[in-house]
C-alpha cells in the first residue's frame, strides 16, 4: 500500500547552509523511511543554494528536489505553496515533514487543507504504528501538561517537528543521491500578499514569554554581577534570564524580568532556580514549567519542594562547572 510512497522533508536554509532543523528532519525522515521501506526525499527552495542539495544527501536524502530561482529567495506563502503542491503532485509522498518554524507553521497547515489531509504540529516524537503502518505523532497539548498521540488518516501524513527534538544522522559526504532541479515558471501567481519590508532585529536575547529555558536568580545572587553569570548560561541554552522580586527591588536586574504574581507567568520547558528560595508569589509564576532544577545553599528552601532536581550548595561554586558542562553537551 505504502510501498511506492516516500518520505518528503522540507529543508530550511540558514546563512547559506542547511538549517540544523533540516538535518534533524532528515535524520528522523530517514528512520521512518527505512522502517517503512520507503525512499527519503528532500525539497530545498531558495536562491543561490548550490551545494545544499549535496549537503542534504550527505545527511541522508536519497532524492533532492531543488528550486533555485531569484523569485524564491525569501519565503512567500503563495509561491512556495505552489511549488510544494507541484512537487507533491509528482512525488505523492506518504509522509511530509516540516520544522515547527515560522515557515513550517505557515506552510504545513496550508498544504494540509489544500491536499485534504491533516497535520500534527510541534511533534516531539514520530513512530510507526505496527497495525496500520501509519505514523504515530506525539505532540504536546494543554500547554505541555499532556501529550497527544495522533494519526493522520489521509496521505500525505503531515507533521511539523519541534527543533532539537530529533537527532540528525552523522554527515557522510560519501552518500549519493539524485538531484532534481525544478524549473519553475517565472510567471508567479500574482500574489495578494506583498512583502514591503523585511528586517533583522538585534534581539537582546530571547523574550521571557517565548523562552523554552529560563534561568532565574533570587536573593542569593547577591548583585548585578551574579546575573551576568546567569546570562552566560542562558545564552548557551538559548534561553532567557528571569528573577524573583528581591533582585528587581535591589535593581540587580530590570523589573521586566520579574517572574511571579506581580511579574510574568511563564511555562518554559526547563526552569533553573539559582539562589532562589521559592516564595509562593514567585512559584505562581513558574509552577507549570516542565522541568525545574534548583541550586540553593539552604536544604530547607521552599524551591526544593517543587523542583525535580536539586543541588544543595552555594551557587557560586556550582555554576561555572555547570555552565561549562552544559556548553559541552549542547555543542555535541
Amino acid at each position: 500500500m505504502t510501498n511506492n510512497k516516500s518520505v518528503l522533508v522540507y529543508c530550511e536554509i540558514m546563512n547559506g547552509k542547511l538549517a540544523s532543523i533540516s538535518t534533524e528532519l532528515l535524520g528522523t525522515g530517514q528512520r521512518l523511511a527505512a522502517e517503512l521501506g520507503q525512499e527519503l526525499s528532500a525539497v530545498i527552495i531558495g536562491y543561490e543554494i548550490e551545494g545544499l542539495a549535496q549537503e542534504a544527501i550527505a545527511y541522508g536524502a536519497q532524492k533532492v528536489y531543488v528550486v533555485n530561482n531569484p523569485l524564491f529567495k525569501d519565503y512567500m506563502t503563495e509561491s512556495y505553496l505552489k511549488v510544494m503542491e507541484k512537487i507533491i503532485q509528482q512525488l505523492t509522498p506518504g509522509i511530509l515533514l516540516f520544522g515547527q518554524t515560522s515557515v513550517g507553521r505557515d506552510l504545513a497547515p496550508w498544504l494540509a487543507f489544500r491536499l485534504n489531509t491533516g497535520v500534527s504540529m510541534d511533534c516531539m516524537a514520530l513512530t510507526i504504528e505496527p497495525s496500520s503502518k501509519r505514523v504515530l505523532m506525539t505532540k504536546p497539548v494543554y500547554g505541555g501538561n499532556a501529550q497527544a498521540v495522533q494519526v493522520c488518516e489521509n496521505d500525505p501524513q503531515i507533521a511539523t517537528i519541534r527543533p532539537k527534538a530529533m537527532v540528525p544522522l552523522t554527515k557522510d559526504a560519501s552518500r549519493t543521491g539524485e538531484i532534481i532541479n525544478i524549473e519553475e515558471d517565472s510567471e508567479l501567481i500574482s500574489t495578494k500578499i506583498k512583502i514591503l519590508d523585511r528586517r533583522i532585529e538585534t534581539t537582546v536575547g530571547v523574550k521571557l514569554e517565548d523562552a523554552r529555558v529560563v534561568i532565574c536568580g533570587g536573593r542569593g545572587i547577591g548583585g548585578a554581577e551574579g546575573f551576568k553569570q546567569l546570562a552566560d548560561l542562558s545564552n548557551v541554552l538559548k534561553g532567557a534570564v528571569g528573577a524573583s522580586r528581591p533582585p528587581c527591588d535591589n535593581k540587580w536586574i530590570s523589573d521586566s524580568q520579574q517572574i511571579g504574581i506581580t511579574g510574568k507567568i511563564i511555562s518554559p520547558d526547563l526552569y533553573l532556580a539559582i539562589g532562589l528560595s521559592g516564595s509562593s508569589q514567585h512559584l505562581s509564576g513558574c509552577a507549570s514549567a516542565k522541568t525545574i532544577g534548583a541550586i540553593n545553599k539552604d536544604p530547607e528552601a521552599n524551591i526544593f519542594k517543587v523542583a525535580d532536581y536539586g543541588i544543595v550548595a552555594d551557587w557560586n561554586t556550582v555554576l561555572p562547572a555547570f555552565t561549562a558542562k552544559i556548553t559541552e553537551l549542547v555543542g555535541q
Binding site: P246, D255, G260, I261, T262, I265, S279, S280, L283, S284, G285, A287
Partner: protein, 684 residues
C-alpha cells in the same frame, strides 16, 4: 464715652463707623459669594439628613473644641493652645457685638458703661487676652523656632499674618483699656490687666491718654474690619468652614465608600474639578493647614508623593485658579476634562494637580481622616479619581489582578490552590451540599489561595470545630468579596462581584457570617447593604473572644512569650474593633502583651490596604518595613495580626529585614490553635 459719638474734622463718628463697616461687609460678602459660587461648581450631595443631630454635634464638638483636644498627645499639645484661642475668640467676638456694635455703632454706650456686666465681662476678656497672647507666643515658637514637624512644608506667611493680626488685636485691646482708664478713672482696679497698664501710664496727662485711647480704638476697629475682609481670603476661612464641615461629616459607617450608578456615564469617577461634590470642595475651605494628616499618613511618612494635606490644599488652589473662568463659561459638570484643562492653561486635575503616583500611593488606612479637626474626607477624593482611572481612562495600574478578578473571581493570579484545597482532611461542610449550618465561614481569597494564609484559615476552622460550631463554607462558589475592586476604583467590577455574592448568600438563606479577613468583614458588613445584602457579620477576633467568654475554648497551660499586636486598619480605625483581638491574646496564660507606641486609633498601617497588596511598592521606604521596625522596638518575639494582608506584608518585610529568625509573624487564630495543642512547645 464712645469714640464713635464724637466728630472728626467735622465728620460724624457714626458716619465713619458705618461707612467703614459697610465697606468691610461688602468686601466680605463679595468674597463669600464667590466662594459659594465656587462650591456650586461641584456636584450635588445630600449632607442634610439627620439635621438635628448634625447641628447639635457641630455645636458641641466646636464649642468644646473636642475636634482639637481629641488629638492632643504628649508630643503634640498644640490643641490645648488652640482651644484657649478659640474660647477667647468666642468671648471677644461677643464683646465686639456688644461693645463696639451695640454700644459704639448703635450708640447704646450709656447702657453698658460702668455696669457690673461691663466690669465682669471686661475682666474676663482681659484674662482671655493674656491667655490668647500666651497661646500665640506658644504657637509662634512652635512654628518658627521649634519648627514642629506637622507644620513643615507649607507657607508660614499666612500663618504669620494671622498670628500677628490676632496678637495685635489682643495688644490693642489691652492698650485701649489702659489708655482709657488712664484718661478717665485711673483708680479703677478692673479690668485687671488694663488697670495695671493704666497705673504705669500715670505720668501721661489725661487728655493725651484719651486722645491716644480714641486713636487706638479706631485702629482696633480697622483691624477688626480688616480681619473680617481677610478671613475669606485666607486659610482663616476655616473659622467659618471647619465647624460647618464637622456638622456635614459623613454619618455612614466609616468603612463605606459611596456607591455610584455605573449606568450614568457622567458619574464614573472624578477627572475634573466639577466632578467633586460641593462638600468635597468645602473641605478645602475647612482645612486649617495643621498638618496632622501629613504626619500620620504612612504613605507620606515613607516617602511617597502622596500628601493628604497637599491633596486638599492643591485642590483648593486649583479651584480658585480655575473657578473664575468656569463660572464665566457657565460651566456645568458636562464640560469635558480637556476643555476644563484648557481653561486653565492645560493644567489637568489628574496629572498636574494630583499626580497619579499620589493617587495610587494611598493605602486607605483613614489615619488622615481620623485626626483631622475639620472632619475633612481625603479618601473619597482619592477613590473618586481612582474610579475614573480604572473605569474610564483604563490605567495600567493593577491590570493583572483586576483582569484576574473578571475571569477567575480572585485577584491572586497564578495561585497553586483551589478554593477548597485548604480544607482537605478537615471535614468541613460545603453549603452547596449541606446547607444546614448556623454560621457561614467566609474564607476569603487570600485565606484560601495564598500559601502562608492557608494556615490561618485552617487554624480557625480547627478551633471552630473544637468549639462545636455548626458552620460551613461556600467552597467553589465563593468569589472575591469585591474589596480590592472597589478600593482600586473598579466600581463596576465591585458591583458585579458583590451582586453575585449577595445572590448566592441569599439563595442559601445565610444569616450569620464569620470571616478571617477584615477587608471581607468590612465589605460584607458595611458595604453589601448598599446593594441589598444584609447579613450579620463578625470578624474571627470577635468570634474567638466570644468563644473564650462562653468557655467553649480554653487554654490549659502557660505559653510564655512576648507578643505585640498590630492593629489592622480595617478592623481598628474602620470598625472600632480594638479590644476583642487583645482579649483573645490575653486568653493565653503567660502571654505578655506589649503595645507598640502607635496603637489603637493611632495604629500605623501595614501598607497592604487600598488594593496595594496587589501592587508593587517602588517609591521610598516600604511601609511594612517601617511598621515592622516599630514592632521590633517593643522587643517582642511575635507580631500578632488579625488580617491576611498584614500577615503577608510583615512576612515579606521580615525577610527583607532579615529578622525571620527572631521575629515571628502569626495570626491570632494560629496562636490560639497552637496554644490549644497540648502536645506543642510551651514556649510560643
Amino acid at each position: 464715652m464712645s469714640p464713635v459719638a464724637e466728630n472728626y474734622f467735622g465728620i460724624s463718628g457714626y458716619a465713619i463707623f458705618w461707612i467703614l463697616f459697610v465697606v468691610a461687609i461688602v468686601l466680605f460678602l463679595q468674597r463669600a459669594y464667590l466662594l459659594v459660587r465656587f462650591l456650586k461648581l461641584g456636584q450635588p450631595e445630600n449632607r442634610f439628613d439627620h439635621l438635628g443631630y448634625r447641628i447639635t454635634n457641630m455645636l458641641i464638638v466646636t464649642i468644646s473644641q473636642w475636634c482639637n483636644l481629641r488629638t492632643v498627645k504628649k508630643n503634640d499639645l498644640a490643641g490645648i493652645g488652640h482651644s484657649f484661642m478659640f474660647w477667647g475668640f468666642c468671648l471677644f467676638l461677643l464683646s465686639y457685638f456688644i461693645f463696639i456694635g451695640f454700644g459704639g455703632g448703635l450708640g447704646f454706650d450709656r447702657l453698658i458703661t460702668n455696669t457690673t456686666f461691663e466690669k465682669v465681662y471686661s475682666s474676663i476678656l482681659d484674662i482671655a487676652a493674656l491667655l490668647i497672647l500666651i497661646s500665640l507666643l506658644w504657637a509662634a515658637i512652635r512654628r518658627y523656632i521649634l519648627k514642629s514637624p506637622r507644620l513643615r512644608g507649607h507657607t508660614g506667611a499666612e500663618a504669620g499674618i494671622i498670628l500677628s493680626l490676632v496678637g495685635s488685636l489682643m495688644l490693642l485691646h489691652i492698650l485701649i483699656e489702659g489708655f482709657y482708664l488712664a484718661g478717665t478713672d485711673s483708680a479703677s482696679v478692673w479690668p485687671p490687666v488694663g488697670a495695671a497698664l493704666a497705673k504705669t501710664l500715670n505720668g501721661i496727662p489725661q487728655n493725651t491718654a484719651l486722645t491716644v485711647y480714641k486713636g487706638l480704638w479706631w485702629v482696633h476697629y480697622l483691624v477688626i474690619l480688616g480681619f473680617l475682609v481677610f478671613i475669606p481670603r485666607s486659610k482663616h476661612l476655616h473659622i467659618l468652614a471647619s465647624s460647618i464641615n464637622v456638622g456635614l461629616k459623613s454619618l455612614t459607617p466609616k468603612g463605606v465608600l459611596t456607591a455610584i450608578d455605573i449606568n450614568n456615564k457622567d458619574n464614573l469617577g472624578i477627572s475634573k474639578i466639577q466632578d467633586f461634590s460641593w462638600k468635597d470642595l468645602l473641605d478645602g475651605y475647612a482645612c486649617t493647614v495643621c498638618g496632622r494628616c501629613n504626619v500620620t499618613c504612612p504613605a507620606q511618612l515613607s516617602g511617597k508623593p502622596l500628601s493628604p494635606r497637599d491633596l486638599i490644599l492643591n485642590l483648593k488652589g486649583y479651584l480658585f485658579e480655575i473657578g473664575p473662568s468656569l463660572i464665566k463659561n457657565n460651566a456645568t459638570a458636562l464640560l469635558s476634562e480637556t476643555a476644563t484643562a484648557s481653561a486653565n492653561h492645560g493644567k489637568t486635575l489628574i496629572g498636574n494637580v494630583v499626580s497619579e503616583e499620589a493617587i495610587w500611593a494611598c493605602t486607605t488606612c483613614r489615619a488622615c481622616q481620623e485626626v483631622c479637626p475639620s472632619s475633612n474626607e481625603q479618601m473619597n477624593k482619592i477613590i473618586g479619581m481612582r474610579r475614573h482611572l480604572q473605569m474610564v481612562a483604563m490605567t495600567e495600574t493593577a491590570e493583572d489582578p483586576l483582569k484576574n478578578l473578571w475571569t477567575r473571581g480572585n485577584p491572586w493570579r497564578g495561585t497553586l490552590y483551589s478554593r477548597t484545597d485548604w480544607a482537605e482532611g478537615l471535614d468541613i461542610k460545603i453549603v452547596g451540599e449541606d446547607s444546614n449550618i448556623d454560621t457561614l465561614f467566609w474564607v476569603g481569597c487570600t485565606g484560601a489561595l495564598e500559601d502562608r494564609s492557608l494556615k490561618v484559615v485552617q487554624a480557625l476552622a480547627k478551633l471552630m470545630k473544637q468549639a462545636g460550631m455548626n458552620f460551613g463554607i461556600l467552597g467553589e462558589e465563593e468569589t472575591c468579596c469585591g474589596d480590592p475592586s472597589r478600593r482600586l476604583g473598579a466600581e463596576h467590577q465591585f458591583q458585579m462581584l458583590a451582586g453575585n455574592n449577595i445572590q448566592i448568600l441569599q439563595s442559601y438563606n445565610i444569616k450569620k457570617i464569620v470571616t478571617a479577613c477584615p477587608h471581607c468583614f468590612n465589605t460584607l458588613k458595611n458595604e453589601y447593604p448598599q446593594l441589598g445584602g444584609h447579613f450579620e457579620v463578625i470578624h474571627h477576633s470577635q468570634l474567638l473572644a466570644e468563644l473564650f467568654k462562653d468557655h467553649k475554648l480554653n487554654i490549659p497551660q502557660r505559653r510564655d512569650c512576648k507578643v505585640t499586636y498590630h492593629e489592622s486598619c480595617y478592623l481598628g480605625r474602620y470598625n472600632n474593633i480594638f479590644d476583642p483581638p487583645r482579649q483573645v491574646l490575653s486568653s493565653i496564660p503567660g502571654l505578655n502583651l506589649v503595645e507598640m507606641e502607635k496603637n489603637r486609633k493611632d495604629g500605623f498601617c501595614c501598607g497592604g490596604g487600598g488594593g496595594r497588596i496587589l501592587l508593587e511598592e517602588k517609591i521610598g521606604q516600604r511601609i511594612s518595613e517601617m511598621r515592622l521596625g516599630q514592632a521590633l522596638e517593643t522587643k517582642a518575639e511575635i507580631v500578632a495580626t488579625a488580617c491576611p494582608f498584614c500577615l503577608q506584608m510583615f512576612e515579606d518585610a521580615a525577610k527583607a529585614k532579615e529578622v525571620e529568625e527572631s521575629l515571628k509573624i502569626k495570626d491570632i487564630a494560629e496562636l490560639i490553635a497552637e496554644a490549644t495543642d497540648v502536645s506543642g512547645d510551651p514556649k510560643c
